[in-house]
């Protein structure tokens, strides 16, 4: 059942999102708690800073992880220009790992931010289901 091919690395997933463009650090604020008490519902907020450049807007934001079975978490597409756009969701993290957000602007430039998240596990593992 398990895939024979290992999952892409975090770096490979970012490269694929950026379509070969260079990915710069900055512009993004990735808000994830550095230590979470349960990996089942980790709040993630991505906000693009105000210093985005005149006439530019955000087209896509991608969320990626380092050690889950799949590299992608979500891909968000903005169909209208929004000043300082924000997106938030809750994610599952299988273990302690890096989480990266990448934003693609309307000029094709890409910006990323990474947070290392420590995931603690529940003390007692229940049987499956109630």
């Amino acid at each position: 059942m398990a895939d024979a091919t290992p999952r892409p690395t975090l770096a490979e997933a970012i490269r694929k999102f950026a379509n070969g463009r260079e990915v710069q650090t900055g512009l993004l604020e990735l808000d994830v708690p550095p230590l979470v008490e349960n990996g089942n519902a980790v709040g993630v907020t991505v906000q693009i800073g105000p210093g985005i450049g005149v006439g530019l807007h955000v087209r896509r934001i991608g969320l990626f992880n380092e050690k889950n079975p799949l590299a992608e978490i979500a891909l968000f597409h903005f169909g209208m220009p929004v000043p300082s756009p924000k997106v938030a969701t809750r994610v599952r993290l299988a273990t302690t790992q890096d989480v990266t957000a990448v934003a693609e602007l309307s000029d094709g430039s890409c910006w990323e931010s990474t947070v290392h998240v420590i995931v603690t596990l529940a003390a007692c593992i229940e049987d499956l289901g109630p």
Partner: protein, 108 residues
Amino acid sequence: MSGARVLINAPATAVAGEVIEIRTLIAHVMETGHRMGAQGEVIPRNIINRFACRYDGAEVFTADLFPAIAANPFIAFTVVATRSGTLAFEWTDDQGTIETAAHSLIVT
């Protein structure tokens, strides 16, 4: 048919040009496809894989979701209020089930 279990938090009114935040929550197990049942069988994947928001018919925000999105998905995002109209939300899962919700926005 709109499922019972959706919560939308968005302002009822806004000023033209204002950036508003829309918060959505929908009940869905988001079965990852990696879990195993009591007999060791793989529980098949079934997640909401797409979310879309239309503002007066135009798609202003969409999300492609993967199994790493937590159960009972919460998605919040910002849009610019341009004119009065309906925000229509749509969630599609792997089995093709579509849930919808709508929110009326008055822009002055």
